[in-house]
Symmetry: C3
Subunit: 281 residues, 3 copies
Amino acid sequence: MMAAGKEPSMAYSNIITLTTDFGEGDHLVAVMRGVILSINQDAKLVDICHQVKAFDVWDGAFTLAEACGYFPPGTIHLVVVDPGVGSSRRPLLAQTRRQAFIAPDNGVLSLVYRNESPVEVRHITEQAYFRQPASATFHGRDVFAPCAGWLSRGVAPEKLGPVIEDYVRLEFAAPHRVQDGALEGVVLRVDRFGNLMTNLTLDDAPELGAQPAAPVRLRINRRQVTRVVEYYGMGRPGEPFLIVGSSGYLEVSVNRGSASQALGADAGTPVRLEMGGGSSS
Amino acid sequence: MMAAGKEPSMAYSNIITLTTDFGEGDHLVAVMRGVILSINQDAKLVDICHQVKAFDVWDGAFTLAEACGYFPPGTIHLVVVDPGVGSSRRPLLAQTRRQAFIAPDNGVLSLVYRNESPVEVRHITEQAYFRQPASATFHGRDVFAPCAGWLSRGVAPEKLGPVIEDYVRLEFAAPHRVQDGALEGVVLRVDRFGNLMTNLTLDDAPELGAQPAAPVRLRINRRQVTRVVEYYGMGRPGEPFLIVGSSGYLEVSVNRGSASQALGADAGTPVRLEMGGGSSS
Amino acid sequence: MMAAGKEPSMAYSNIITLTTDFGEGDHLVAVMRGVILSINQDAKLVDICHQVKAFDVWDGAFTLAEACGYFPPGTIHLVVVDPGVGSSRRPLLAQTRRQAFIAPDNGVLSLVYRNESPVEVRHITEQAYFRQPASATFHGRDVFAPCAGWLSRGVAPEKLGPVIEDYVRLEFAAPHRVQDGALEGVVLRVDRFGNLMTNLTLDDAPELGAQPAAPVRLRINRRQVTRVVEYYGMGRPGEPFLIVGSSGYLEVSVNRGSASQALGADAGTPVRLEMGGGSSS
């Protein structure tokens, strides 16, 4: 909720980003591009990613959160990961201090709500800004893209619909500290290089940033990784190591190799971080 | 053919779309982007799709037709699916009332001719608008991209070459009604979610749009699908259902699953739609 | 090195191309797009390719070299294939007569140095143009993208750092003539259609361009290919043939098929070109 006295109703720019799970193998993303350009020929379309895992709201939330903050103030982010298309799930406009987000109300904006507080969220109800007749199967084309186009043309956010408070927020899978002082977490995603990004951060385990490095041990799939490096090239060939990645999350990597393959790990694999000389086994 | 008195010689905009079968794994699409920008730095390049099946003119025609209509008037569509590059197949400029299309004369514009009548088609012959010397292997770079660039710069269409009538039109695989009243069609394509898009439309089978839904049965690979839903989320997990998709074609889908996998079906799989209480078995 | 009296300090345009090995499956490329747009909202971002083979500097060099020359004067090319990120490898700005290149000093610009002489190369040292604090793991975001953004905003190249001479140049795998007059080369890459691009050019073997074609024989994986054609469609179905491709390199292709599959060949496969009636069998 936007605190009283805040004024998020800034003017938005022509920059509109697109994040979807449509893939790039057919015409679907292009249809949204065409719809936006038909409303605003000056729109500047920028892809964030179209390879969000199909129907995976959380993967969409993560992809968006990793990129949106790098875009300029006034950017409009369009997010279509929408397994509930056609049902009663609501279309949303969320406004942070700097940017706007247009997305289905299924939790795909959960990290925006968490990272960018205060956020003002509206239920988009004004059908005058939809393509008519709006289909039940492709709201990306008929609802979300047109509203992004109109917003970039200067339509006032309050015209799109009323402020709501009961929008869907997904719980972030935070790591938790267990009895012996270890941290239990999980692999969030695997990137193209096979790096395993966990949900552990420096905030969770300040030991990881100590100079010189404090002894730590990450257990994963019955293997353990103890070496902490500052950049990938410091890793010895074939040897898994720990590194705090560019997004601030602890990663397990192999220099010029795939940690995912080396450790047989994937998104969802549990990890356990043990600090100091404790809990060896 | 453009009827006498029509005037398609509108001014085209800087929006140029690209549809190819080049994939995105190398430099080929970028070369075309560079060529266009070297002619018109203000060109606004928009990808429709680069993953048209290699050498598959019909897949290109379908991809283009599904997207082009959503772009604004004045858009120039560049289509390079060109297995006959270097042979005598002609380069074409096709003008509809709203947009222009630059493509090889191999049928890749067949759906444009069908959907956008009247269309005026020119054989591009004026080598002054080609890169010199034009290769025999990459007309996307040497012929099609430059002509799109010049057209967006305001070169008059009639300067590119003469109007022709004998351009290649591929026959659309229309469904046909068989003796017992059933409709026989085919799966046209499979999207990333595994949805099967058939060539059957509401025009072919108005029963599909009836309220309440009339009883229908789609036979596919010795299975039958009888449930008709309005949006994907209405499907029960794992259960194939029928839905009229966002492009107006009848689709077979599975909610959050792949109908292609569930039914072992792919592009080219025959389907048979039986209406009412007829032809059960 | 730029010879005395040359003046490469041209004004650069807003066109910035991106070449990376990041793939398109996550947020990494988008982060760089956002960083650039935050510095220069008028930047015109154009993708060359994001599917350079992971960590493969040579594949990046080749991809860039095949595309960069088609872009207009003033273009800024941003190249991030950077296995040594965080180590002491230097960030570079290379200026040719027409364009600028921003990349790590790992040889990824080797073909630019070879093809675009004279080139003036600077070691980018001025941290005022970096994101702060710069990470050790993502210089694409923190060093290369911001410098490209600032350069497009008109920052003078000499402000980024001093001219250097000892930048890394990789040796191009040139074909060599062996005792019996044959040329020994190698397959450089395989495109999406399965065409095998070798490192042999018309300069190496003028016989390939003779009219009528002189007899030649390419040996590859114990097979031989003798037919030379001018465009792909001249090939008989399933039959491998030789063709001088759009980049000037000799290719082995199969009309509407994959030469890579037909001949079991891939990047790195040796080839041997025999001219005239010599060295049969």
